[in-house]
Symmetry: D2
Subunit: 448 residues, 4 copies
Amino acid sequence: MTTATAAHSDIKDPNLAGVGKKRILWADQDMPVLARVRERFEKEQPLAGLRMSACLHVTAETANLVRTLKAGGADVMLIASNPLSTQDDVAASLVHDFDIKVNAIHGEDNNTYYKHIAAALAFEPNITMDDGADLVSSMVFIALDRLDDVHPMVREWAAKFSATERKSKFDNVIGSMEETTTGVIRLRAMEKDGVLQFPVIAVNDAATKHMFDNRYGTGQSTLDGIIRGTNCLMAGKRVVVAGYGWCGKGVASRARGLGAQVIVTEVNAVAALEAAMDGFAVMPMAEAAKVADVFITVTGNKHIVRREHFAAMKDGAMVCNSGHFDVELDLPGLQAETASISRDVRPQVDEYKLHNGNRIYVIGQGRLVNLAMAEGHPPSVMDMSFATQAMATEYCIRQKGKLGKAVYTVPVEVEEYVAITKLASMGIHIDSLSDDQSKYLSGWEHGT
Amino acid sequence: MTTATAAHSDIKDPNLAGVGKKRILWADQDMPVLARVRERFEKEQPLAGLRMSACLHVTAETANLVRTLKAGGADVMLIASNPLSTQDDVAASLVHDFDIKVNAIHGEDNNTYYKHIAAALAFEPNITMDDGADLVSSMVFIALDRLDDVHPMVREWAAKFSATERKSKFDNVIGSMEETTTGVIRLRAMEKDGVLQFPVIAVNDAATKHMFDNRYGTGQSTLDGIIRGTNCLMAGKRVVVAGYGWCGKGVASRARGLGAQVIVTEVNAVAALEAAMDGFAVMPMAEAAKVADVFITVTGNKHIVRREHFAAMKDGAMVCNSGHFDVELDLPGLQAETASISRDVRPQVDEYKLHNGNRIYVIGQGRLVNLAMAEGHPPSVMDMSFATQAMATEYCIRQKGKLGKAVYTVPVEVEEYVAITKLASMGIHIDSLSDDQSKYLSGWEHGT
Amino acid sequence: MTTATAAHSDIKDPNLAGVGKKRILWADQDMPVLARVRERFEKEQPLAGLRMSACLHVTAETANLVRTLKAGGADVMLIASNPLSTQDDVAASLVHDFDIKVNAIHGEDNNTYYKHIAAALAFEPNITMDDGADLVSSMVFIALDRLDDVHPMVREWAAKFSATERKSKFDNVIGSMEETTTGVIRLRAMEKDGVLQFPVIAVNDAATKHMFDNRYGTGQSTLDGIIRGTNCLMAGKRVVVAGYGWCGKGVASRARGLGAQVIVTEVNAVAALEAAMDGFAVMPMAEAAKVADVFITVTGNKHIVRREHFAAMKDGAMVCNSGHFDVELDLPGLQAETASISRDVRPQVDEYKLHNGNRIYVIGQGRLVNLAMAEGHPPSVMDMSFATQAMATEYCIRQKGKLGKAVYTVPVEVEEYVAITKLASMGIHIDSLSDDQSKYLSGWEHGT
Amino acid sequence: MTTATAAHSDIKDPNLAGVGKKRILWADQDMPVLARVRERFEKEQPLAGLRMSACLHVTAETANLVRTLKAGGADVMLIASNPLSTQDDVAASLVHDFDIKVNAIHGEDNNTYYKHIAAALAFEPNITMDDGADLVSSMVFIALDRLDDVHPMVREWAAKFSATERKSKFDNVIGSMEETTTGVIRLRAMEKDGVLQFPVIAVNDAATKHMFDNRYGTGQSTLDGIIRGTNCLMAGKRVVVAGYGWCGKGVASRARGLGAQVIVTEVNAVAALEAAMDGFAVMPMAEAAKVADVFITVTGNKHIVRREHFAAMKDGAMVCNSGHFDVELDLPGLQAETASISRDVRPQVDEYKLHNGNRIYVIGQGRLVNLAMAEGHPPSVMDMSFATQAMATEYCIRQKGKLGKAVYTVPVEVEEYVAITKLASMGIHIDSLSDDQSKYLSGWEHGT
């Protein structure tokens, strides 16, 4: 740990470093693609001399990503992208064992959360990395001089500059990476509104990211979070999965795989049909509310489970969210139906006793249940996401000056490299096209 | 049946019309979306006065599509898109009960197949509909004056015109619809080579087509074809699925659903990884050949199972294809390893006795096994594909003059209409976005 | 074919023998365990000099069983155990190519059915083989002098003898084999009532029979029958499986495997709980009737789907039975709700138009749907059942005189032989216990 | 807590009682059948005046069982059935909040384990309850005067009595309950050897126990233990499940449900065939060792994974046991191949670096992975097992004097009560037999 690192860090307890290091190295064993990228970065130093602010879930897997960025030459500051997702031991080890600047404390309040965002901005990064677009949106508000729209902690920092300075504050940012569906939706909205300040790479949209991380990662870890949180048997339970995007497909598949009877709710007709043809029951939330035992939201939208739904639920229903923001469950709506709350009847499980006498259990306060109650996505799947992240960062830098203020996709070569390297690490060999077959695929002259 | 219809038709046996009609009406009961489109077409007559040549599998489901086109005002000629996929009873009924011109005979030889293509061209259609792009590619060759590249039967017709006439022969074609992955790949290659003569709508690429038809339709009907063809127990069998695109996903899922142990082969690393994470064994064909009991190709490419693979197979291995063209199995390669062939040890199942003493069973001569051995995709799923087809045709006509010589996608409104109508027919209700939620999705200002 | 065989046979059409032989030999290829038993029987002649009457589904698989019995030295007469399950081509080939006496015609009426039973009795068998206990129950009625309870065709034969003769008519029967759950239930009821006339081996109760045949065989072939019969897409369908015994588990698993949303109905609480924990919806038939698209009965009981259920069904509901007897659907009850019937809207699919305007489709007249609409269980699984049958017959003969008038189970050595031989034929090797491990399992002294 | 309870207890830390009570009450909410039994026991006092020693996993679920026994009037002493399965907070709460005598400390050494067994014997119980038969086997050794075969801590207590006293030491024991497959196998071996001292009820053999607890409970909790222990992604992993009994079926099904590619090893041919037909790969351990990523033993036998298997494994292989005793992994054999061990690279995960350079990870020291790494079976499934236990205890007392020194099964009425009550608690209704149907099932006269 250098003095600079210590000065720029805000963590829970440095004494946790030992445990955290073990966890980081354990995860590293299951992240072979990222390790190979890191080896190359060490030699080639593609990020040399650049400052990076990364707003991510501070987990053992993320630790291996920032180690890779640092190996590539970057000076990295890591902050939390969610108040409940920081693993304090990992944060401690990053600072003390790996000389990474970290501002993240598990369970931090909103003020601290935004104080850390301000720190990430004050770091004057050349590259940012985002998980939900909280960092980029703060930058956009500042550049637009909409200081009323940013949190007071961020405003305090921004106010140090004149409006003119703020306007060009982020002109030197080469680009930003975004790894959530939610964040990409926000960023495309910014692009549409013409307010993006720099290029963004939609890492989430890479097949090697969303098809694996969102589906298999969210699928397993969401169920893991619920089971660790409640120790409930999934077999025979009626489980509502709200949303049948990649995350929803993963969660529904894993819930069924554990013996649950799954109900899908959707607003999109094509996705709803797909769920029905996959053998799931499909119905509106108002109907599902009456019959289900467990509710999981993964929509990327707000107020999916609302006051009237809570009021209709059975006694003992359990409710959680695995979408990025904690707005999917309308907790104020629940509160309006509630006579009394018992906090932590299990750790981080709150019992809401409704006016109608029923008890509703909210797991992890409506925040990402896989990170609040368990350890988030397993390293093996984050290996792919983060190798894609690291290589997208390298690509973004190499494209410096050639990209506009827009949302870009990850080049297909990156996806191919990641997929091929992952397969190799799993000991899986596949076929390759013969010349004859390649030619066949590119031609149109052949027929019946 | 009008005199014109009789004059323009070539079918097996008109006496089959009674049976065929029953099958058409049976299928119609499970095609409610198409029925609704047909009702509207009857009133609005969007295709009035147009001639259409449709090159499709002549099945009961297709019959209901052409009935719909005719209801919309078109004068329709239907020809077969595959020598083995025609249901002769359906063809008979179309001619006799529904006054549709049909040129299609089950088991027709290549000469007859192309004679029928010539008839479809001679019909001078304003709109064409294709299943594998055989019709369009013939038109392209003619327009390019590459008569050596077309079948003699087609050449005979084309030779009636001068080179100049041929060049502009298809100028009046408003557009064509294509409903296979294979066909779309060919058409994009034509577009890339600058030889497309008119706009094409890639109906296959509509979510309401490929996500359902290619996956659930091909999935069930391929296994159905194999079981009808061989009566083999799938439970405990090692089944190779070559290709993990939409069709491959469907076939692999259904084979597993019947208790098989599925092995996937792929050339694409991302698809291979997806198969592995879905719990399938993934390996090269050369390894799979040695251990599997059943082989199914769904790649859209050629020579997936080759001479060396056949030579490596176990005694009793069964091999079939469910991809569009019959080139996926290298049957000449198999023949080169073969000492003797017993045809039809079961109907349409041929036993190849190899020089090494092993017996290999080829099902359906390597042609689409679901159409050769069973009835093709169930009407319920073709309902979506064909409603999309019919509405894409209407769209194409409405856009007359506005589209270039390129491949276009189906407008999202068509997909939405089809999906919503299908859900309704299944008695499924779904949620809809509140204004608040729509606004949330389109905004970017909210955050943690 | 000998003269005796011709004299003792009653089949549809001898000209079908060629096709039938092909099918018998095709099935034989997938019945390696039975083939090995047949080879041994040929050498050892354990059934030499015995007459056998076998009342079974006359299929290609059964043909290989009776070939085996004949190879063992028996003089075999085969009759149908169900009016709709006879494959006429197989019957023809058995008579003409394999010199087996056969009395069975597909679609035979009840009179013919019982005339054939009478023929089987008149054959004066030393051993009988039954599938539903129709043969044994006739013998019991005769021996008890309850001639009013047997069919007139059987009575006619029985009346040739005096009451005293009838009483001892079956004293020379060494034993009988029974291979259905339904039949075993009937036989145990006979044993309880003290009316069994000879020992019976409950072949059905062997693990190598019911765990495989009833589950994987009935599972696949029931869905196969429905799909061949209706060409309906299973994905997205709500399918009721009535009964969660071995057959029900198989059917439910395969329906889910094809993408259906499965509802189980049960009368047994433990089985109902098991279904729920396996992720299926469980509800009473009265509720299921209102929501489902397809109904399948496999209970072994009567009137599972009754008048009130038919009246509550949705328009277009499809109904079939895969239990042994055709009493599971209350067709008279359906008829009472029916305004008009259209027979064979698809082959063997009848449309009942109800007074309420809805249409109900009955598949295969409520008889075993897998045999009525498809080919019954695949040979691979019948291999195990019939190898068990053949070896149980041998065992029964070897125990002659040692068994009472009771229901016996198959000796465990038979099950082990069948399972080990089947695994070997599939190329599967397994572990074996070391001495140390065997000792551990038989001891109790070890502990924590 | 009474003085007697304090005097008879040995636990880790009384201060944990608060947390423990929360967990007990949380579990209680998901144990409605047991709660209903408890209510009745409170009124009827069927166990009044009896002393019980229960040797069980000391978990929140077990706590609710012993609360029930106490409610029924028993004076209960609870000891641990496994050194790693005790939840110290639960133990504390049982003593302090529920006045139960407890001797159990998480991670206790073998000496302490057997000291607690001695305490359970010294309690002079009228009824015992066992989980693996450690308590009963100690009693048998003592009664047989085989003091050399018991642990010194037990011997010390037994030595207080004369050989004659020891012989009749357990004459007053009314009976014992056993709830594991392993324990029942040991007890039947004792019965066979004629050494059982009192009647035993094989609670494990009740359908309401083994079909649910062993399958769904062990299935989910074993995977839960592995994931909590290692955070590894199951999707795409090759997972060996050794043993395809009820536990193995559950584990294999859940591993597949999470996306793993499952390999089953077996010594029983019928079970191996069943696994193959369920779509799993089946092979000997020697082959599986070379290709798998994760190994799970659930056989009830010893040394399933041996030295030669460890030596053949891939670098990074993870190994654990979910069978009752910790003998399934041959850890001494592993040690013989090992160059160095790093303990706790994750909590309770040990890294064995082999002489060949590969690293093998042993999870939970080879003890029951679901209890060592997670919380054991979920309450919902233990609800059924423990309601069966409690009612079997009541039955055993009611039968006092009528049962011999043998292993008995749970009466079917108990199973029915448990299943029906459980279904009701899940809001599931089922059909019931009409008189007509009951009569049909019990008769044999009906036929085709």
